[in-house]
């Protein structure tokens, strides 16, 4: 007999992504209202605000791509002076990762797209 699963899939995704080199924080956010479902952001960071802004940025750029007839957006990547904010839509959720500048962004992208398949197969 196996023990019942007690961790949600969101926490599993967050845990897996948090193990990627250079990752500072991970969020799974409700895409509709920007509320965090699970996250590992650093202490002192306003998780609610970041979750809402990240979800809004992802959806806004996805809407722009749709408006242009470019189809559905699968991946979002913001490069800043001191790090990355990368995200992907997973059904009703947005998975977002904050990472250091030295992070291998290509590997992070692969990890995020894998996580997306976990939450929205």
């Amino acid at each position: 007999m196996t023990a019942p699963r007690t961790r949600s899939p969101y926490h599993d995704v967050v845990a897996e992504l948090s193990r990627q080199r250079g990752v500072l924080g991970v969020m799974v956010v409700d895409a509709a209202d920007g509320i965090p479902i699970a996250s590992t952001l650093a202490v002192g960071v306003d998780g609610d605000a970041v979750a809402a802004l990240a979800a809004s940025l992802v959806q806004q750029t996805a809407r722009a791509a749709q408006a242009a007839g470019f189809g559905a957006a699968s991946y979002f990547q913001l490069q800043a002076e001191q790090g990355w904010l990368c995200a992907t839509g997973a059904g009703a959720f947005v998975i977002a990762v904050v990472a250091e500048p030295r992070t291998n962004a290509a590997l992070l992208r692969l990890a995020l797209l894998r996580a997306r398949r976990e939450l929205a197969p």
Binding site: D46, A49, T61, S74, L78, A80, G83, L85
Partner: protein, 262 residues
């Protein structure tokens, strides 16, 4: 009478007598509160029953314009102008409407012709002069539209400069079907730069430098141009991402030089 009550009263009247003219004020009220879809339905039914009324066609034309259905707006205003008495305000308004639609469809000669017809029908001289000035300045708009053209190669679909309010300043975005999608894309970008800056402040990541979006039909990249504008480029997915990012840099440099002198 509050709007909701008036809408209910007019809706009831129209339900009792589908041939009544209540559709005219009802559609106006619905349009006034932003319910373009329902106003459209009401207006089209009224137009079908009262095809001899210029105000019915004028109403449909205004709603079609609100839906950016330019050809429909042109057709409806054409009917309104044909039915309205000579020298009537409705005829003048219909020609002004058609002038605007032809301006949007980049048919300047027809636009000017309708402005002249509007003047002949007694349109407000100040309004016509303002419309004519916009028409003439569209020549400089044409130059702005092709600002980034020399930088584009095969596979590039968009190079656009957009301000914080979501207005196109320069460049063009061609959708996957080849049609001009600039006016559809730009409003969707309103406030993006500000939202990115706020997110970066909360995360202490410094200034944002570039956004890349992978979509089914394009790679899209965005970057700040000046403190008030952003640039967007898009290329087919087959275009190497490094090339798209290089294009983004070039478009940004050209946009800053242009704005510095604009």
């Amino acid at each position: 009478m509050p709007t909701g009550d008036a809408v209910r009263r007019l809706s009831d009247e129209l339900a009792r007598d589908p041939g009544s003219l209540a559709f005219l004020p009802l559609a106006e009220l619905l349009l006034g509160r932003g319910d373009v879809a329902t106003a459209w339905t009401v207006a089209r039914r009224g137009q079908a029953r009262h095809g001899d009324r210029p105000d019915a066609h004028d109403l449909v034309a205004r709603l079609a314009a609100a839906r950016a259905d330019w050809e429909e707006a042109l057709a409806a205003w054409g009917l309104a102008a044909a039915l309205a008495p000579a020298g009537s305000p409705l005829r003048a308004a219909a020609h002004q409407g058609m002038a605007y639609v032809c301006f949007r469809l980049e048919r300047p000669a027809e636009s000017e012709a309708h402005l002249q017809a509007a003047e002949a029908a007694g349109a407000d001289a100040v309004a016509v002069a303002a419309a004519r000035a916009r028409l003439r300045s569209s020549r400089s708009d044409a130059a702005a539209r092709v600002l980034f053209a020399p930088l584009l190669a095969a596979g590039d679909m968009a190079a656009l400069l957009v301000d914080g309010a979501g207005h196109v300043q320069a460049g063009e975005c061609r959708g996957a079907d080849g049609r001009d999608a600039s006016d559809a894309v730009a409003p969707a970008l309103a406030g993006l730069a500000e939202a990115a800056e706020r997110a970066m402040q909360h995360l202490s990541l410094g200034r944002w430098e570039r956004i890349t979006v992978e979509a089914d039909g394009a790679h899209v990249c965005l970057a700040p141009a000046t403190h008030e504008t952003i640039v967007l480029v898009a290329s087919t997915p087959a275009t190497p991402l490094g090339r798209v990012r290089r294009l983004l840099e070039q478009v940004g440099e050209r946009a800053r030089r242009w704005q510095g002198g604009a």
